[in-house]
């Protein structure tokens, strides 16, 4: 029963969602809508589960004095501080002198969001630029004709995507007095024609794979995802 019940639920709700896409009648539509509401509630409840998992793992780490256990203290402190600032009644926070409470503008939560969370997130994303540079330096070696094509295309797209590409083309066309294709136009052509053709092919393949996998799960052929063999 441990595996049959999840399998039955998967088949039942999977079929219901598929049928709901093709049948607009309210009897089906409202049932589907109700199931979707349950999903929202379940997703919200899962967040509690996630927080409990984080807390459990780090409390274990501290109690066992695992390696680097001291880092768990600031993590748990930040976790509970942000939760507390978000959920305690607004007037409690304003009563101790803050201009606003909850997640409103001017609240401590908002202050931490803008001054700690936003810069940290931005920094992590900005790392991408550095990693792209080091990966490009290492990976774009012209070892074969295909690699040469790849590197040339990458350079054309990179330069054509930014304003400097247009400026270089305008300068060059002015120099030779001929109206050649500009770098942004070449870049646009690469993105619209060869890039799109390849992307579409991979997209179709991936989408078919996704549909086949969904059908396998809905029909109970693929059971390992729900703990079956």
């Amino acid at each position: 029963m441990r595996r049959e019940i999840p399998l039955f639920l998967t088949i039942f709700f999977g079929c219901m969602m598929v049928i709901g896409f093709f049948v607009p009648h309210p009897i089906v539509n409202e049932a589907r809508s109700r199931v979707e509401e349950w999903t929202i509630i379940l997703a919200a409840a899962a967040v509690v589960l996630g927080v409990a998992n984080v807390a459990r793992i780090h409390m274990h780490k501290i109690s066992r004095r695992d390696r680097d256990f001291q880092y768990s203290f600031p993590l748990l402190f930040a976790l509970f501080l942000m939760i507390a600032l978000g959920v305690v009644p607004k007037d409690w926070i304003t009563s101790i002198g803050f201009p606003a409470g909850g997640t409103d503008e001017g609240s401590p939560f908002d202050w931490l969001y803008n001054n700690a969370y936003v810069p940290m997130q931005g920094t992590m994303f900005a790392l991408l630029a550095f990693y792209i540079a080091s990966a490009a330096f290492r990976a774009f070696r012209i070892r074969t004709i295909e690699a040469a094509l790849l590197a040339i295309t990458a350079v054309l797209v990179m330069i054509g995507r930014v304003p400097v590409g247009g400026s270089i083309s305008d300068w060059f066309n002015g120099l030779i007095h001929v109206d050649l294709w500009t770098l942004p136009e070449i870049q646009q052509w690469i993105m619209d024609i060869p890039n799109l053709a390849a992307k579409r092919a991979i997209l179709i393949g991936a989408a078919l794979g996704a549909i086949a996998t969904s059908l396998k799960i809905i029909l109970g052929i693929e059971r390992s995802a729900i703990g079956g063999d």
Binding site: Y117, F130, A133, A136, P163, Q188, K199
Partner: protein, 277 residues
């Protein structure tokens, strides 16, 4: 160790420093490169331009502070154009960290520059957990999904929501997205199912994935990364924060191209040494 080996095994921290300065310098000493809007940004602008005063637009802001430098300028420029067109803006988010960013843009643009009134001209519904399910539920009833706005005020009495309760009452969806749930899901779940026009702005990394949707007409306009945001800003107001950062991005691209060429030069010299030996 000879110089070729040293360059071949170049410490990546040196690459990082060069990139850092290449991006930093133009922010202090702008190059003033001109920006020409491409077809995707022009179509994005035209889709909003076609709206009538009083129409309702759903602004789906699905990102977080990580992609703020790329996406916030798009959101701000879109809000500016929507305010100029005098349309009602209903904003919602499927990313928990996004609502404060939307608030910031509304306060700065809608309220600060156009004297628009919260609840009358625009509303921030805030975050709702549920991803694609929420997208679909909004098609049934916006008030059902969001009985209150991001600060807990009931939305039913707000003038901005008068006559609006589902996609049927929305003229356009403007999506600004950093990933999942985002543009792809809005196309698959809403554009296809409810046939409502959709324009999207996304990070540069994910833009190539959405080009097919733009070509097929499923997206009425597309802004890809900072470059897309800068092109759109040029169309909306002539300039903006993204346009100013394009010099830095240009120089960053040139440095990366420089490293690709350097890597290949070393590789070429090494292989020549090998063939001579």
């Amino acid at each position: 160790m000879d110089w070729k080996t040293r360059l071949e095994q170049l410490d990546r921290r040196i690459i990082f420093i060069v990139i850092f300065f290449a991006v930093l310098m133009p922010l202090f000493f702008p190059l003033g490169l001109s920006i020409k809007p491409g077809p995707e940004a022009t179509a994005f602008h035209a889709a909003i331009e076609a709206l009538q005063p009083g129409d309702a637009v759903y602004l789906a802001a699905d990102y977080d502070p990580g992609s703020l430098p790329e996406l916030q300028p798009m959101l701000e420029a879109a809000i500016e154009q929507l305010c100029r067109k005098d349309v009602r803006i209903i904003a919602g988010s499927l990313w928990p960290a996004c609502p404060p960013l939307v608030n910031r843009a509304f306060t700065e643009i809608a309220q600060g520059r156009f004297n628009k009134v919260y609840g009358t001209d625009y509303v921030n519904l805030g975050f709702k957990e549920g991803r694609e399910v929420v997208m679909n539920q909004l098609g049934q009833s916006i008030r059902g999904v969001y009985p209150v706005d991001s600060s807990g005020a009931p939305i039913a009495d707000m003038p901005v929501m008068s006559g609006v309760d589902s996609y049927a009452d929305i003229k356009l969806i403007v999506n600004v997205s950093a990933g999942y749930p985002g543009t792809k899901e809005w196309v698959q779940q809403v554009r296809s199912r409810y046939s409502i026009p959709l324009v999207a702005g996304c990070t540069a990394v994910s833009a190539p994935e959405y080009f097919p949707y733009f070509q097929s007409g499923q997206l009425s306009g597309l802004l890809g990364g900072l470059a897309g945001a800068a092109e759109y800003e040029v169309l909306v107001s002539g300039s903006g924060p993204a346009a100013k950062k394009m010099d830095a991005q240009s120089l960053g691209h040139i440095v990366i191209i420089g490293f690709i060429l350097l890597g290949n030069l070393i590789y070429f010299l090494r292989s020549r040494e090998g063939s001579v030996a």
